[in-house]
Symmetry: C2
Subunit: 253 residues, 2 copies
């Protein structure tokens, strides 16, 4: 009867597939496997010591999160983020989070601020490149605080579905642009301050500024759109017949 009255959620031991999924995610987000690289089910199964069916399910989950791209009868490949994709991703994330801010700013309370401060402090203590996965995790946790408060399950779902790619994006940002922990901390410092101020406009502007205008000059979004459109209009022409280039990104129709 206890279960009925309290509606306790059982500890629900994690399934093998969840474990496998996490392992694969870590491998991708830590850069152990390169973008575009093929993920062979049998090899992974052997390495993880699980069935190929399980690996297959895990890959399907990762596809859902945008970390891998699956092409029927061809294979599964680690997703590739072109610069146009990166801009597109930032813009989309900005849209969702800005809207979330709009819905959530009234219900910001001290407990929430405190939680975020704790997370930020934890992030401050991180050192690259070893703590990189931890930084991603904290970053997502911080933003999740905001998006959850919006009170929209769908918005949260959509935002969550971008998380994988966001992690991948941060990975390349650190590798290529030499982003530092300070940069990330500074932004979140501003973000928390804006939430504390309870000003939706400032909060929204902080978010949009960071994603859309960050690193670029004015008219960032317009140029982002143009680039995205340009990339879409002209599919890459790979002259090489070599093995590695399935180009999972251009697949969409």
């Amino acid at each position: 009867m206890i279960a009925h009255t309290l509606k306790l959620r059982r500890p629900t031991r994690l399934r093998v597939v969840d474990d496998a999924c996490k392992s694969l995610e870590d491998a991708i987000l830590s850069g152990q496997v390169q973008p575009g690289e093929r993920l062979v089910e049998a090899s992974i199964a052997a390495y993880l010591g699980v069935s190929r069916t399980t690996v297959r399910e895990a890959l399907l989950m990762l596809q859902q999160r945008g970390l891998v791209v699956h092409e029927p009868r061809r294979g599964t490949f680690v997703a590739r983020l072109s610069s146009a994709d990166a801009l597109d991703l930032k813009m989309t994330r900005a849209l969702l989070e800005a809207f979330a801010a709009r819905l959530a700013w009234r219900s910001v309370d001290n407990a929430m601020i405190e939680t975020m401060e704790t997370l930020l402090a934890e992030m401050k203590a991180c050192r690259l490149p070893d703590d990189f996965p931890r930084i991603i995790q904290i970053d997502l946790a911080l933003h999740r605080q905001l998006v959850e408060r919006a009170g929209s399950p769908r918005l949260l779902d959509l935002w969550t579905s971008l998380n994988g790619q966001i992690g991948a994006l941060m990975l390349v940002a650190v590798e290529r642009s030499h982003a530092t922990v300070e940069d990330v901390v500074t932004f979140h410092r501003r973000l928390i301050d804006a939430m504390r101020a309870r000003d939706p406009l400032v909060l929204q502007a902080t978010i949009v500024d960071h994603y859309v205008r960050g690193g670029l000059d004015t008219d960032a979004l317009t140029s982002a759109i143009e680039r995205v459109l340009g990339t879409l209009a002209e599919p890459e022409a790979p002259s090489g017949v070599s093995r590695g280039g399935p180009d999972p990104q251009i697949r969409e129709r």
Copy 2:
């Protein structure tokens, strides 16, 4: 050589799992299985004449599209849409499509309008309740025209991931609210006209108005979406109308 020059899309015989997924989707969207009903893998497998592994994969895909909910070790159930969920879904769809309109309105051309007119004519010829699945299909195709033009792969992905629930929502709308074909046609008539007019504000207003109507606080939500979109899509625009004015916010929920 032909394959290289024409870039033909392989006929890509549909896999069994794709077929099974479609069958299940049809069953849900036609109301043959009720929301909340349990979907037993073995039964479905036997009925469709496929393996349980295949059914399992199909269910995972449907979960990704929000049509079913899977609880580990407990089962898969047809998703239930509460009235709050319906409202949430409409709001989210409005956000995505309004933003898509902002990105896409410049690239609207006659060919696109013509395609949409054709689809609309086809919709007009439909009769409820038999043609219901067809209406959903046309509705989604119409809106996809718009979202695709936005040129943002992520935006399209997010929008697509809502499609399943949108279909389910239309199903209950028809069953409960006695919505007619005329209602749907009229809205899309306005939508196409707005696109023809090449006015992003009217287009956006048409979309937001349609989805959010009947909600609790239409004005507040509309203004929230407008502000977010305004900031994102046209940072230069002097939309100071909302800047200093009073700020009606969403109270309930």
